[in-house]
Each structure stands twice: as structure tokens, then as C-alpha cells.
């Protein structure tokens, strides 16, 4: 609600033309900043458990290098211990655990440097199924909503994340390709015009029904796709994953969302430390980021086809593209541009240019790879779940 107040203030001022927003990068003392970050949840059902370990880095550094490797992770509870194995850098996995839903479980982390961490004992939250995924066509775009309910009214707190997959095409068709210095026509197998794009959620989406008479989530907004997005250019699909949370976990996620997605205005809540449920076994004051829940996950997928959407929605290609003619013998400079631009791999050949009388190509149309090769941004392999219209 404060967000809205803030927006009104901004709006009034922006219209009046007197407010302005500028990038801001404060000079910060380079503080030693190396706190453990634990992400994931213990899947008590018939699905694998994935835990990612990383650590915080200074603002100027890149986070991709922050994986925490070679740690020993175990899920413990009900007198049993389950081992997790590092399947790639900083990612630890266990086969389906099928835990007893009436028991409590925790995660134990032993880092390679000897530090040991424990998550608080958590009850197993069983997630009700996703009822429906609906969409609304709004002037702002395609709005995806989710509905769920729990007749037993035990869930109350919900979190969702999602994976989006969509079919899209490159701006130009590349009919040729360079193979060992030769330009050859593409076969249907190695066409790079149509691909599948993929994106996972990067925002925290939460809902709570504690203030409602029954445990019903009605069309909670999940994401909005703007009309010009490539995601809705051909066919779009979203898989929404639903997690039931405890009140404490909800508070953690809510705090995470508030702290990192909407902050700064004097009408917004002040940032506050994010207290998770993971602690250093010897130093309780050491900050650890993350919250480990135990429970199940449910999901549902829908498809939205271009034909379901307004014809007036016109996709804007995300890059500025153009094609140029490229000749073996440049009419002006007499240089071999095909060798310089296409065979060198800088550009892709799109179409062949023949002489006035036909015959072998005297040159090719050329375009940037991101204009003619969809694999620069997507994959050609059709996902197993994909259903055509």
C-alpha cells in the first residue's frame, strides 16, 4: 500500500516535470563481505532436493564466481541422515527423500573450511495442487494469474516461482552456413530460424490467505508479459511451481522481497536485516542468508498461443537488425568481403546473390548472428513438455 502512495507522489511530481530519477552508485567502504547464502528446499515428496550454496560478494564483484564448493550437506530428522552430492559447482542434490510428513527435519552444512551450519527444525508443509492458471489480456500485456485452495485450510501461505518457455524466430532466415570455409545451404536439421526461449522467475511472488475466511487464492498475479515481448510472438508456455510455506518462511520471503524489490522511498519500509533459519553452530551472530523449508512442490503448466492474443500486439525484435549485400569482389574496393565478413564468422550468410544471368553466387546477404541465428538466445531442441496447438 505504501508503494502506491509513493507512486502517486512520484506521478504528481513527474507530470509536473519536477521530479527526476537518476542512477546512483554510492562509494562504499569495501567491507569484508563473505556470508554464506543457502538457497533451496528440502523436498519431502517424490522429487529430488536441490540446495545451492554461494556467498555474498561486494557490490562491484560478480556473483557468478561465488559458488561454495566441496561442502558436505545432509538432511537430518526422524533419526535418519540423507546425503546430498555436489552435482555442479555449488549445487548439491539428493534423490527423492520421501520423508515422513509428521516429522521435523533440518539441513546440516559443513563447509570445506570447517565451518558448520544448521537450519532450524522445520515441519513438513504439504502443498495443495495448483487449481488453475488463467490469463487476462490487459492493455499492459498478458497477465498470468494462479488460483489455488486448501479445503483443510492448512496452507495459508503460498509462494510461487515459474519457468517460462516460448517459441520465437530470428529476424532473418539464414539459408546458408559456413562449413570449413565453404558456404553451404542449410538443411532442415540445421536451420536456426525458430527456437525455444527460456526464462526462470527472478522475483518473489507470495500470497497469504490468513485474512480470508477460507484458504483460497483467487487469481494471484504471477507475471505480466508486455505486448511487444518476443515471448508472445508465436506460442508461450509457463510452468508455475507452488510451495506452501510456514509463517516463518513466509516472513523471510516477504522480507527478502521488500528488501530487494521495493525500497528506498521514504514511504517504503526501511531495509532490515534478513533473518533466515540457518545458523553457524559455533557463532550464532554470524549472518547467514537463506531459509530452508521442508515440504512438497506442486506445479501446473499452460500454453498461450499467438492466436489467443490481440492481433494488434506487434512484437518488437529485441535487436536493431539489418541485412547487407556482401560480395566476393567488392565493386568499389575489389576486396573479398565474403571472406572478410562471412567466412570469418562475424556475420551469417542469409541469402545468395547471383549475377544477372544466374549461375554461382557472386555474394551473400549478411546479418548479425543475433538477427539471423535464434540459437544465440534460445535452443532448438524441443522440450519434452511442449505441446503444439
Amino acid at each position: 500500500m505504501r508503494k502506491n502512495i509513493k507512486y502517486i507522489v512520484y506521478l504528481v511530481l513527474l507530470i509536473a516535470g519536477i521530479a527526476c530519477k537518476k542512477p546512483y552508485s554510492p562509494t562504499l567502504a569495501a567491507t569484508a563481505n563473505n556470508y554464506l547464502v543457502v538457497e533451496g528446499f528440502i523436498n519431502s515428496g517424490n522429487d529430488s532436493t536441490l540446495i545451492k550454496l554461494s556467498h555474498t560478494v561486494n557490490l562491484g564483484d560478480t556473483v557468478s564466481t561465488a559458488a561454495e564448493r566441496s561442502a558436505a550437506l545432509t538432511v537430518e530428522g526422524n533419526g535418519k541422515t540423507y546425503q546430498l552430492n555436489e552435482i555442479k559447482a555449488g549445487v548439491y542434490a539428493a534423490a527423492p527423500l520421501n520423508l515422513d510428513a509428521s516429522q521435523k527435519y533440518h539441513l546440516r552444512i559443513k563447509l570445506s573450511n570447517g565451518k558448520e551450519y544448521l537450519s532450524d527444525d522445520s515441519e513438513v508443509k504439504l502443498t495443495p495442487p495448483v487449481d488453475t492458471i488463467t490469463y487476462d489480456i490487459k492493455s499492459s500485456g498478458l497477465q498470468i494469474n494462479v488460483s489455488a485452495h486448501d479445503p483443510a485450510a492448512n496452507t495459508r501461505y503460498y509462494r510461487w516461482d515459474y519457468d517460462e518457455t516460448w517459441l520465437f524466430h530470428a529476424k532473418y532466415i539464414s539459408n546458408y552456413r559456413v562449413v570449413n570455409g565453404d558456404i553451404l545451404p542449410r538443411t532442415s536439421d540445421d536451420q536456426v530460424f525458430i527456437c525455444f526461449g527460456n526464462h526462470s522467475s527472478s522475483t518473489v511472488t507470495l500470497a497469504s490467505t490468513v485474512k480470508l475466511a477460507s484458504d483460497v487464492v483467487n487469481n494471484a498475479p504471477i507475471t505480466n508479459i508486455i505486448p511487444t515481448s518476443e515471448k508472445v510472438s508465436l506460442r508461450y508456455s509457463i510452468l508455475i511451481k507452488q510451495y506452501a510455506l510456514t509463517a516463518e518462511a513466509f516472513a523471510f520471503w516477504e522480507n527478502l522481497r521488500k528488501n530487494t524489490e521495493q525500497l528506498g522511498s521514504i514511504f517504503d519500509a526501511l531495509p532490515s536485516e534478513i533473518k533466515g533459519n540457518i545458523h553457524n553452530t559455533t557463532d550464532a551472530k554470524e549472518p547467514v542468508v537463506g531459509f530452508i523449508s521442508v515440504g512438497t512442490m506442486t506445479s501446473k503448466r499452460i500454453f498461450v498461443d499467438k492466436d489467443d492474443l490481440p492481433k494488434s500486439w506487434l512484437v518488437e525484435y529485441p535487436y536493431d537488425c539489418q541485412q547487407d549485400s556482401t560480395y566476393f569482389v567488392n565493386p568499389l574496393s575489389r576486396a573479398n568481403d565474403v571472406a572478410a565478413f562471412i567466412i570469418s564468422g562475424i556475420y551469417l550468410p542469409t541469402y545468395a546473390i547471383t549475377g544477372p544471368k544466374g549461375g554461382p553466387a557472386i555474394g551473400y546477404g549478411r546479418a548479425n548472428p543475433f538477427c539471423a541465428d535464434c540459437t544465440s538466445r534460445g535452443v532448438k531442441r524441443r522440450p519434452d513438455f511442449w505441446r503444439d496447438k
Binding site: L11, P23, A29, V63, S202, L256, S265, A269, S272, I274
Partner: protein, 923 residues
């Protein structure tokens, strides 16, 4: 001239001449009590053969009180006139009474060789002199400077003692009381200022005095009085037209040095009106913010911070009514209509014992009284708001009203928005209606009322509205010249509601309100010339509905949720004395005993002792029935200040104050949001306590035209409520688990130089001040900053203000306003990490960094129409530029993730020079 006068008297004597018939008679007995000369003469003539000749007009002021037995007439006359200006002369049986001159009835000795008769020797008698109020004597309306006004019952002799002069000062034009005018008697080196109703009381030696009277925006004037006994005077003052644009901070030029209080600033509306503001409309709170020791978290924010106190620690009074939300329109406007307001007083250090209930400051805003003589009004047009006021007599010279209204027409602005926001709305209005009635010279009734409402809505999603509603009735009664009483009954309310109707399943309405019913009695007793005693009793009954949540649509599943109402009674008994020990040392000491009772019905949660209060340490709850006293808090509050004069224009002052606050504003935002919740102290939430020690040096220069002061202070706060990380403050049934008792300390030094008169006037202030908070409650698991001190949101160490006005002519003046302060503290991200599909930031310790420093300068031109008195309307314009240099001051900085990457932004509002114009009509 004098000769003609004497000749006239002589003629009169001739005209009244009656021949004496009897020789000198023996003794007679008389008994006069406040007798006029007529009575005396008639009595003596009836008892003797003497006949009197005199000019009745000369003797109208003489009252004779005399008891004599068996005395000769000359002896009686000797007694009657001894020590006065009056004389008698005997010529046989003829008695000639004269004033000043002695009539010689005989020729000069030796003129005809006749020996002069010596005067009759006086027998010892004891004249009984009493001074009583003359019931049918009307109170003189002292309107001219050159007349000598007689106060009290005129006596033949001026006794040696002192008498009390009480009076009332009003504006000759409107009949309105003049507040804060000073009455100074140079010869006695004593003075007093009128109270907010225009009354004053002064103890003086009997005799003749010259009163020098100075009032805010009034022409300095003098009155000559001769004080015979306790009495009253009404003084009428004229408005000083030429000082229309003069800065007047203090009503009393010597108050800076002479007043006992420290840390008190008075501003009148004229000086407020000349300070440039963003939309051109005079704004009281903006001007208050230019005073040293007053801070805010940013432009366009509600509330202000005084000497390190939080925004809810200020008691904001409008005609003694508590205003819970002093802002409109997200803080762009203050709740006070500048056309109605007369002036404001800010108490940041010495808080009089009659005020209480907040630990930081008192902002006392007073409305004008309506014009008692004729109907007048004003209207003003600005870019976003318009305002109108009308005032006039209901019964001429007795009853008057003043009405003010303001409203916005900003919706046109929102209509210009892109489609997505076209349905947004934001508007406010407020109304003031005050009535004052003079029953007689001892009784006055004042009724004041205020209502405001703000509404805003973003694109038909969620609508917000809030409203202040206040009404009170005051009765001021003068028991006698020394004892004044003020009795108040009133009711104050603040409410807000939020409603959502976009999604019928979730449609809800959330309501909050706080009500207080006030009963106050306040007495001032002028014990003697060196002691002024105040005492009284305050009662406030609170009824607070912390949250009522329910469906707003038939289809809505919103589950009604009502946080039970809270009620409490806050009472305070106080006694204070301003004691002038000697000419140089004055002490003001007050004691206020406040008592707070949290009342049923209520279910109070009980927590395991020694553990952090949380849902896990909750044991059970106890139900209390209606009216049952659940918890009592209370204690004495000390209000002490003293002043010592080091010279005529130099003084040193010190003060110590303790205060208690039983009501808290729960907010987890930097500024007050309209939707923050007030909370009463209860068994789980302790009242706030604050104390402050302050010391100041004051010096006036250039015959009191330049005032300077330096004040230092150290302040402690206890049990201020901060919130737990991630706290929910709305609709929380166990709010005590989400708040943390916090300690605070604040210290600083404040410099101020101001010039109140002349064509160039204004003030310069600089303050160095720090404010720190600390959560060291052992019952808190993980306190903010690990229990160490951290700077408060409004901790701005350096703050500089310049407010200046230069008057070129009576109709044209320029104002300039310059503000600099250190940027406010913020919590910045120091690290980042990847979580839930995005980069996220890790925040520093709370408030470990600061936004860039703040600097702004504003400029305005004030152009008045002509000053001809007889014209239907008077016009004036204010044209100016806000943020002259266009500096992009950071309003806030924030870090947000966009497409999975952290980006920092600095938001500036009023980021370029903003021109404004305001047009005002007075009729």
C-alpha cells in the same frame, strides 16, 4: 492660559457666592467613606455654617475617606486634603477649594500691616483609607497616548503599596485580542506579555506610570496611567501597516534575553507568509523547519523532528486541539490554513507544565479571532489549492466568527496522466470555524473547530482517505484581577481507511481511528509582583480502534478482523511558579504529575517472563471487563528553567525537563505514512520517557534589534518504540511482539542570529546535532546493529538556514531562503548475492551511510497593491522560484533489481527551479 483658568474659577466662585450668615462654629464629627466632594461639602455645610465654593469638575476624581470626631472644619479639611494636590482657603465662613494652587484670602503679610494668621494646627487623627472596587466604574478604554488614565478607585492620597493592573489589549480595527504583546514599564524595569487571549496582569507600585506597549505587527504605543488601586484597563493598538512584510519572530524584543524559558520560538503569520514555499502557499510547518533544532527526513514528508525526537513525539495543537496528522497531500501542504492562523509557538526545551503527553516538543498553533467590528475576508489562488476565509461580528464588539476553507483542484493534473493512471485521484479539503464571544469583561467563550479530509486513489485499485476532526469549547473566566481560569471541553479524532475493490474476492476495507476527549482546567494566579503561579488539571480519555478489517464486496471472502478497541485515561495535575528572585535572577519551576490508566474491556496477552515476546513465549491472555483499570503508569515530570541577567542585553539560561508519553506511533517507514498506527501504552508496551538538560546564552545587540542566542542540549529517550525487522504493524493482534523498546540520546548546539526590524530582516541559524538510537533490551533476540547505537533516520549533524527579507518600499519586498543540511542516514547495500533467480543486496548496519548533502535556495517577490484604506479589495501577489539553483537533492536513494541485476537510483523531487505564483485578495 493659566490666568484665564484661574479667572474662570474665580467667576464661578462669584456665581456661587452665598453670603455667610454665622460666625465660626465649634467642632463637628464626620465619617466619609469614599465620599465625593459633593457629599463632603453637603455634609459639612449641613453641620456647620461654612459655605463651600469650588469647581466641581476639578474635584470629580477625588474620593475622601475620613473619620473625625469633634474636629473643627479647618482641621477636617486639613486631614482630607493632606498629601493631595487639593487645597482650601478660608475667608470667614467661606471656604474656597482649589486644586494645585492655594487661594490667598488675605493680602500678603504686612500689606496693610495685618499679621498673617497661621494655619490651624492639625489634631492627630487616623484616616482610614480603604481601597475597594468601584462597581459602576467602567473600565477605561485607553485609546490615546497623551491622556492620563486613572486605574482603580481614585483616592485623595496615593498609598505606598502596590496594586495589580490587569488588562486586555486589542486591535483597534478588528477588536481582536493582541497575543504576546509586551507591556513594559521602563522606570520599574518590569514587564509582562499578554496571553493568547490578549490578557495581562502586572503588579506595580501605586502611582503614575508610563506603559510601553509593543505587539507583533502593531504600532508601538505608550499609555500613561495613574494607578490608585487594583484595576483594569483596555488598551487598543493600531496595526502597523508599514511593517506588513517585516519579520517578527518574537513578540517581545527583550524576550530573547529576558524570558525565563529557553528553546521557545514564536512565529507570527506575517513572517511565515514571506518565506517562499514550493507551491506558493504559506506553510507553517516549512517555516518551523528553518528553525535551529528542527529537522525533517525530507521534502514532502509528514512530520518533523525536534532535537532528536521522533515525529510522533511532538504535540501539535491547533487552538488546544490535538492534530494527529499535520499534513495534506503526502506532506506537500501543512494542515493549517495560513489565512486563519495567527501565530505558532514551538517549545523545544522549556515545556510549560501545562503541556504534556509528548516527550519532544509542543507546537502550539493559534487561530485568529474573527473581526468583531466588520465583515472582512480573504481569498487566495494557487496552482493546486485555493483558499477562502471570511470573518466578522455576530454581535458587534461581543461575538465574532472566523471561517476558513481550503481545497484542491489537483485532479486536473492527474487527468493528464497516461491511460493507465487516468482514474487516479488525489484531493484534500479543510475547514476551520472559530467563534469567540465576550459575555462580559470577566467571561469569554471560545469555540473552535477543524475538519480535514484527504483522499487518494491510484488507478481504481486501492483508495485511501484520512481525516482530522476537532472541536472544543473554552471558557475563560477572570475570578478577580489576580486569578484567571481557563476551562476546556473538547474532542479530537483522527481516522483513516483503506479500501480495495479491484478483485471482488479480495475486496476489503480497513479502518483505523483514534478519539480523545479532553477536559482541561488551567489557572493563573498572580500571587505578587515576583510570583506567578499556574496550576491545573488535564484529563484525556482515549478510545482507539487499531484496525477494523472487513469485506467490501458481497462476493468478497475477506474475513472480518477487528483488533479490539483500546481505551485509556491520561490525567495530569500540575503546579508551577515563575519566581523573580531579584532583578537579575528569575526561576520558573513546575511539577506535573501525570497518571495513565489503561482501561478495559481488553484481553491482555501474558508472556513468559525473561523471554523475548513472541508467539512462542505467549502463555495466555487475561480478560478484563469494561472500565477496569488494567495497568497504571505515572510519575512526576519536572519543568525547571532559570535565567540570570549578566547585563542589560545579556543573559544566561538553563533548564531541565522530564516528560512522559503514553501514546506511540508505530511506523516502519522513514516518514510518517498516512496509514501508520497509533498505539496506547498497555501492560506490554511501556510509556516513553524523555529528559533534557539545556543551557543557553542570549544577547541582544543594537538596541534589541538583533537577537543572538547559543543553546546546547543533551537529551535522553527511553522506551521509544522501534519495530522488529519485518514487523507487521497493521491489524496485528499482538503488536508487542513486533516492537522493540529503544533508547535514544541526542545532543547538539544551536546558534541563531535574527534581526526583527528594519527594511532588511530575517534570521540565520546553524545547528550541530546528533541523534542515536540503541536497542539493548535483553528480551530482544537479535537487536538492530547488534545492540549498538545507530544514527536515527533524521540525524543530520550540520544544518544551516538563512531566511531573509528586504523591503524596498512598503509595497515591494524580496525574500530569500537558503537551506543546507547533511544528508540523512540510510541503510545501503554493502554486498550482493544470488537468490530466487535474481541478484539481491545485502544491507549494511542500519543507517550506516548517508544520502548526499541537501542544499536549496528559494526566492520570492511580494508585491502589494496600494495601501489606500478605503477600497473594496486589497490585492497582493507572491511570485517566486523554489529551488533557485535547481540542485537535484536526493529525496531518496534505492536499490532495486531489474531483470535480475541490482541498480541503484537516486530520486530527486523538486529537481529543477519551480516557479510559483499566488494571488490573494483581502476584502
Amino acid at each position: 492660559m493659566k490666568k484665564f483658568y484661574l479667572f474662570g474659577i474665580w467667576c464661578l466662585f462669584i456665581a456661587q457666592f452665598v453670603k455667610a450668615q454665622q460666625p465660626a462654629s465649634p467642632v463637628i464629627s464626620v465619617n466619609f467613606q469614599q465620599a465625593t466632594i459633593q457629599t463632603v461639602v453637603t455634609d459639612i455645610e449641613s453641620k456647620s455654617s461654612y459655605r463651600f465654593y469650588y469647581d466641581a469638575a476639578q474635584f470629580d476624581s477625588l474620593k475622601i475617606t475620613l473619620q473625625a470626631t469633634d474636629k473643627t472644619v479647618p482641621a477636617i479639611l486639613d486631614l482630607a486634603f493632606s498629601g493631595t494636590d487639593f487645597h482650601y482657603a478660608l475667608n470667614g465662613q467661606q471656604v474656597f477649594l482649589t486644586k494645585t494652587k492655594i487661594l490667598q484670602t488675605t493680602l500678603a503679610p504686612g500689606f496693610f500691616g495685618i499679621k498673617a494668621t497661621p494655619g490651624v494646627s492639625t489634631a492627630p487623627v487616623s484616616p482610614v483609607t480603604t481601597f475597594v472596587n468601584d462597581g459602576d466604574k467602567i473600565i477605561p478604554e485607553a485609546t490615546t497616548e497623551n491622556k492620563l488614565y486613572e486605574i482603580g478607585v481614585k483616592t485623595n492620597t496615593i498609598d505606598a503599596g502596590r496594586a495589580t493592573l490587569s488588562g486586555y489589549i486589542r486591535d483597534i480595527k478588528s477588536g481582536e485580542a493582541v497575543t504576546g504583546a509586551s507591556i513594559y514599564i521602563t522606570a520599574q524595569k518590569t514587564g509582562v506579555a499578554t496571553d493568547q487571549y490578549g490578557y495581562f496582569t502586572l503588579s506595580l507600585p501605586k502611582g503614575r506610570h508610563l506603559l510601553s506597549i509593543r505587539g507583533v505587527g502593531m504600532r508601538d504605543t505608550r499609555r500613561q496611567i495613574i494607578l490608585y488601586a487594583d484595576g483594569k484597563i483596555i488598551i487598543e493598538m493600531m496595526e502597523q501597516v508599514t511593517s506588513l512584510k517585516e519579520v517578527k519572530i518574537s513578540a517581545d524584543k527583550v524576550a530573547n534575553v529576558r524570558a525565563v524559558e529557553l528553546g521557545v520560538t514564536r512565529l507570527d503569520i506575517k513572517s511565515i507568509k514571506q518565506v517562499p514555499t514550493v507551491f506558493g502557499e504559506a506553510d507553517i510547518l516549512r517555516v518551523v523547519l528553518t528553525l535551529p533544532g528542527v529537522q525533517s527526513v525530507g521534502e514532502a514528508s509528514t512530520g518533523f523532528n525536534v532535537r532528536g525526537g521522533s515525529a510522533d513525539q511532538n504535540l501539535i495543537l491547533l487552538n488546544d486541539a490535538t492534530i494527529y496528522n499535520p499534513s495534506h497531500f503526502f506532506g506537500f501542504f501543512s494542515a493549517f490554513n495560513p489565512d486563519i492562523v495567527k501565530g505558532v509557538e514551538l517549545y523545544k526545551s522549556s515545556i510549560p507544565e501545562k503541556f504534556g503527553g509528548r516527550v519532544s516538543s509542543i507546537l502550539d498553533v493559534t487561530d485568529r479571532e474573527g473581526n468583531k467590528k466588520k465583515f472582512t475576508g480573504t481569498a487566495g489562488i494557487g496552482l493546486i489549492t485555493s483558499r477562502f476565509n471570511i470573518e466578522g461580528p455576530i454581535i458587534k464588539d461581543k461575538t465574532s466568527f472566523i471561517f476558513g476553507a481550503r481545497g484542491t483542484y489537483s485532479d486536473w493534473l492527474l487527468k493528464l496522466l497516461p491511460d493507465a493512471y487516468k482514474n487516479s485521484q488525489a484531493s484534500f479539503y479543510d475547514f476551520n470555524l472559530d467563534i469567540s464571544h465576550q459575555i462580559d469583561d470577566k467571561n469569554n467563550i471560545y469555540i473552535s473547530s477543524y475538519i480535514s479530509r484527504d483522499k487518494f486513489k491510484l488507478n481504481s485499485d486501492t483508495a485511501y482517505s484520512y481525516s482530522n476532526r476537532n472541536i472544543n469549547i473554552k471558557w475563560k473566566h477572570n475570578f478577580n484581577n489576580k486569578l484567571f481560569g481557563l476551562f476546556l471541553v473538547g474532542s479530537d479524532r483522527y481516522q483513516y481507511d483503506i479500501s480495495s475493490f479491484d478483485n471482488p474476492v479480495n475486496a476489503y476495507k480497513l479502518k483505523f481511528d483514534i478519539n480523545q476527549t479532553n477536559f482541561k482546567s488551567d489557572f493563573t494566579y498572580y500571587l505578587n509582583t515576583s510570583n506567578t503561579i499556574t496550576f491545573g488539571l488535564n484529563n484525556i480519555y482515549y478510545k482507539l480502534h487499531p484496525g477494523t478489517y472487513g469485506p467490501n464486496d458481497a462476493k468478497s471472502l475477506a474475513l472480518p478482523d477487528v483488533v479490539p478497541a483500546q481505551q485509556a485515561l491520561e490525567s495530569a495535575l500540575y503546579l508551577g511558579d515563575k519566581y523573580d528572585v531579584n532583578d537579575d535572577l528569575s526561576v520558573s519551576f513546575g511539577l506535573r504529575y501525570s497518571l495513565y490508566n489503561f482501561l478495559g474491556p481488553q484481553a491482555v496477552n501474558n508472556y513468559a517472563p525473561g523471554l523475548p515476546r513472541s508467539s512462542t513465549s505467549l502463555i495466555d491472555s487475561t480478560n478484563y471487563s469494561s472500565g477496569k483499570i488494567i495497568k497504571t503508569y505515572g510519575g512526576p515530570e519536572i519543568r525547571l528553567s532559570a535565567r540570570y541577567n549578566l547585563g542589560d542585553n545579556l543573559s544566561i539560561k538553563g533548564g531541565y525537563n522530564t516528560l512522559r508519553q503514553y501514546i506511540h506511533l508505530l511506523s516502519n517507514t522513514t516518514a510518517i505514512a498516512p496509514t501508520d498506527v497509533w498505539q496506547l501504552s498497555n501492560p506490554n508496551i511501556k510509556p516513553q520517557y524523555g529528559d533534557q538538560v539545556s543551557l543557553g546564552i542570549y544577547k541582544n545587540l543594537k538596541s534589541n534589534t538583533i537577537e543572538t542566542s547559543v543553546e546546547v542540549y543533551y537529551k535522553r529517550l527511553k522506551d521509544y518504540l522501534d519495530y522488529r525487522s519485518g514487523a507487521t504493524l497493521v491489524l496485528n493482534h499482538h503488536i508487542e511482539t513486533d516492537v522493540i523498546n529503544t533508547r535514544g540520546k541526542a545532543y547538539g548546539v544551536e546558534f541563531m542570529i535574527r534581526k526583527n526590524t528594519g527594511s532588511a530582516n530575517g534570521w540565520i541559524s546553524y545547528a550541530y546535532s546528533r541523534t542515536f538510537l540503541k536497542q539493548d533490551d535483553p528480551a530482544v533476540g537479535q537487536p538492530v546493529n547488534n545492540g549498538n547505537f545507530y544514527p536515527a533516520n533524521y540525524d543530520k549533524p550540520h544544518s544551516f538556514n538563512f531566511v531573509g527579507n528586504y523591503r524596498f518600499t512598503h509595497r515591494f519586498s524580496l525574500s530569500l531562503n537558503v537551506t543546507y543540511s547533511t544528508g540523512r542516514p540510510i541503510t545501503l547495500p554493502t554486498g550482493k548475492y544470488y537468490y530466487a533467480g535474481s541478484e539481491r543486496v545485502y544491507y549494511s548496519d542500519r543507517n550506516a551511510y548517508r544520502i548526499p548533502d541537501y542544499f536549496r535556495s528559494d526566492f520570492s517577490m511580494n508585491i502589494d497593491g496600494n495601501h489606500k484604506v478605503h477600497q473594496a479589495t486589497h490585492n497582493s501577489f507572491t511570485i517566486g522560484v523554489y529551488n533557485l539553483t535547481g540542485r537535484q537533492n536526493a529525496y531518496s536513494t534505492y536499490f532495486t533489481q531489474e531483470s535480475g541485476v541490482i541498480t541503484g537510483y537516486k530520486l530527486s523531487i523538486f529537481a529543477k527551479p519551480i516557479p510559483f505564483i499566488n494571488y490573494n485578495i483581502r476584502f
